[in-house]
Symmetry: C2
Subunit: 255 residues, 2 copies
Amino acid sequence: MDVRHLGASIGGRRCPARRCSTCTDISEPAKQELGRLARIRIYRAGETVIAEQDEIVFVGTVLSGVLRLQKTLHDGRQQIVGLLVPGDMVGRVFSSNSHVAIEAAADTTLCCYSRGNFEILLGRFPELEHRMLVAMSHELDAAQDWMLLLATQNVTERVATFLLLMRRASPSDLPVMTRISHVVEVPISRKDMAAYLGTTVESISRSIQQMVRSGVIRIIDPQHIEVVHASRLIDLSGHDPSEFDPPRTDIRRAG
Amino acid sequence: MDVRHLGASIGGRRCPARRCSTCTDISEPAKQELGRLARIRIYRAGETVIAEQDEIVFVGTVLSGVLRLQKTLHDGRQQIVGLLVPGDMVGRVFSSNSHVAIEAAADTTLCCYSRGNFEILLGRFPELEHRMLVAMSHELDAAQDWMLLLATQNVTERVATFLLLMRRASPSDLPVMTRISHVVEVPISRKDMAAYLGTTVESISRSIQQMVRSGVIRIIDPQHIEVVHASRLIDLSGHDPSEFDPPRTDIRRAG
DNA sequence: CGAGGACTTGAGCCAGTTCAACTCATGTGG
DNA sequence: CCACATGAGTTGAACTGGCTCAAGTCCTCG
């Protein structure tokens, strides 16, 4: 593992993450302690953060980039069971071994804590453990949403749903022009999309090109897709419009 | 909702569940408080415990029976995203509305607590909240296992996996003879199996009958299947044998 | 006994996979 | 600077696992 450990200890207040889930909305003492323990880790696209079955030695938060949570059947078939984007928690507390491989789907920066130390903090600050519980509850909801998608929806519906999720997940600090033109940033490759949506790159490509031909979207480049006709994209997704239209509801990215 | 509320308050120690996840291994004061709040609820097969989107007014534990956690797309397609068997937690703390419908897949008895009261207890007894976190962590693992199954495995593999999970989940207090003869109790209908495995009753039936013809299993009645050749069933499941053979590992039922 | 539900079986069809070929962008070394 | 390899994405064509529709059996229950 060719990982650069930047030893810089950063205080919670100086945490470079815009929406670092760990460090916001917690009491000052907890924030102080977290800051003392925090370490930055940087991964290049493709690098493994934690292998499947590996011991979990640290937990943390994604500051930038994308991680994929991936499971592999013993014959090699793989499935991405979650994507972690900035603000998401990495790793699992009170679980010695990971049940998923965690890999960088793009260049990624993490804010990490040793799992042991973090768990001690959880014991000292029940508010932190409470936040973990709420976060995990959301992850479980997202996982259940994804099960419904994988089990019942066709490829076009999956792709449409994915694009809508990416649109909602796209950072609110993007240039305003980008937002009104409805450009969705797709942070992962077609291959990862296929592994996440439970299909193949070919099927992904066909669905996307079909949407292009029917004028629903426009491809700027493979990672940037303009949503020309949002309501038709929502129709294609097979979901209730209220799940994607503003006001924001509680459907979340699987993770 | 035609639910009988038996007002009987039961102390944790007298909890009729053999492996009530809430009431075991916790401190005496917490147990006392839980006992004061506990109420028994009984549902007939097919009854709805909590509808999708409904407010969650209580949480609890399954004492007997099976609940299905079910999601419905707005066009009617449905998927069971989890089964709750005795010992499993029902409901979600710190979440006002359910994102799944919870229905009795068989006659079911629950040990319930008002959500509000239970959440207050969680605040007073961090050990309880810690248990919730660990339980939810296991549920999330199971959900991710199930995503892999739904996205990558064929129907025969899904059915084999399901039978193996049922075999492991079968209560250890079954008659000894039943255990050595490897009779798996299937607590749900083919229709629910299909909704859980993301397929149809017809495909379920064909896979099961194929296993019968090849001598892997024997059907005693639709709800009782004898595993004649466990290692071949494990082969069919497409999983690593270590996941199902004793010693018990940490693959769990999706929930 | 008849109705209804659960399960099984058969036959045809189709969405999506597989395999193969192609374009295009990027990078590498001579 | 070009030749070439490599990887990502797209497109075409054929194949197939599982779905759909339809018709059966068996069991339970009123």
